[in-house]
Symmetry: C2
DNA sequence: CTCATTTGTCTATTAATCTAGACAACTATA
DNA sequence: TATAGTTGTCTAGATTAATAGACAAATGAG
């Protein structure tokens, strides 16, 4: 009995990948996280017992425990001796990428509390790739902002923003306003659009995992976006890393 | 000396992640693949010797060899005794996701030869999620097409397309025309638009890896798209898996 | 031909992961 | 209180991943 996407209705096969270069506890952690966000464990708020999970994935109970330990560190579940393992967080947020996407607008309503922190700022000479995207020359000096976006205290995005010269006061304005949109407005950029977005996926490096409160080796969604004036002159290049298990990217026709 | 995105210019640190749940040979394979597509190994067409790579990543030569073995199986490199390791394929394609994306249009110019194969087709009862997306009821019978897209013989996309009832002849039309766009046209759908796209990333399961000619454990980009008539009535739900190391998704303002 | 360089293969060892089983500690319920 | 069900912890062993070193085999250059 299969449904239209081919997923088996009666769970048995559901096995795990050996010798694939990804350790069993990590595969199981990833799949449990996904299963939680798909609501597969009912709405009791509890996980099945460890022995049941071990049977489901065809591994030893200790391997499941290693996976649950990681998920507990991430704040997804919490185990209590004698009682069971509770689900603390189930949802996966959707980050909209459309023509006029702003961080807080897009996620509003999906989380209680949104923050957007400036980690550091500097000016730096840009490389050829960024220069091409912004219509500048390699070696030009640009403002660079390192930011972290959080929802309900949990890191959701880690971005490097590069601004064309002429927007050199952006760091101070951002520090004052706490928002790129407002900072740009105060610099005389009332409106801007997303000219292009490229989406990639890869494993997190150690430092990125630490910044996003992930276990190392987690999967990142990475976007390379160019923003510009409504007349399509580019002025901002942003490289953003999202934890793939906490967020998905979404494009809707009416947000385009 | 760092550039604007913080990447070190003089390569030394570049170490690898131990105890992160991803084996060293896989991390190294992923990073070599990425380095190739970024052109980091010059344009001689040759990789650095295994000993140099081992030093660069801080691992044993045998670990590098395990990574190169995987890359050779994927067709990215080829090693020749006494000579060295050649780079066979460097580019990463960009799959456009815009308002009017069609497989062959979008990739035209990025590969010599594009194919789009129908693996199988069937009718099946749809689940709630798909039903919601298409404005139908769970349990409705829909045409389901399983397809594989290839560029120059290499698998690039593995999709499951679900079509609303009323388009029930789609499988035969597709088999005849070899294109979803043409099949829809022959069913009286001259034009359609992409209503929404969600992008996720995760590890490939064994079967998916086999279908896409990946080593198991590779990272997939997964899109969940809903297509509809120009008046926004949805009629098609597509779940597509892309190998993240062969392709990236791109949105351009003029393709929207 | 000779030599330096590079990949291919082999053996051995160490370290990490996964399995297996037993039992303690805790919770909830009858 | 007794019991079943669950997580926590410990020990031991098997399997796999990574390291280390040596040398063979092929290539290209002088």
């Amino acid at each position: 009995m299969n449904d239209a996407t081919g997923k088996a209705a009666s769970e048995k096969p559901s096995l795990v990948e050996r010798r694939g270069g990804v350790q069993l506890w990590r595969q199981i952690a990833d799949r449990i996280r996904q299963a939680i966000s798909l609501g597969e464990f009912g709405d009791s708020g509890m996980m099945p017992p460890e022995t049941a999970l071990a049977a489901r994935f065809g591994v030893n109970r200790h391997t499941v425990r290693a996976a649950l330990k990681v998920l507990a560190q991430e704040g997804v579940v919490q185990s209590l001796q004698g009682k069971g393992t509770m689900i603390l967080r189930r949802e996966r947020l959707t980050y909209p990428i459309g023509r006029r996407t702003r961080f807080s607008d897009g996620l509003a309503g999906q989380a209680e509390r949104l923050e957007f922190r400036l980690l550091s700022s500097r000016t730096a000479a840009i490389g050829r790739e960024i220069a091409d995207a912004l219509g500048l020359l390699a070696g030009n000096e640009c403002s660079v902002l390192e930011t972290l976006g959080l929802a309900d205290g949990l890191p959701l995005s880690r971005a490097t923003h590069v601004f064309a010269p002429g927007l050199s006061g952006i760091a101070e304005r951002f520090a004052a306003t706490g928002s790129i949109t407002k900072a740009l407005m105060s610099l005389g950029v009332p409106d801007y659009v997303r000219l292009s977005t490229d989406v990639m996926a890869r494993h997190a490096m150690a430092e990125e995992a630490a910044e996003l409160a992930l276990s190392p080796g987690s999967i990142l969604l990475e976007t390379m976006a160019v923003n510009g004036f409504p007349d399509r002159r580019p002025f901002q290049y942003s490289l953003t890393r999202f934890p793939a298990d906490r967020i998905q990217l979404g494009m809707r026709i009416d947000s385009v």
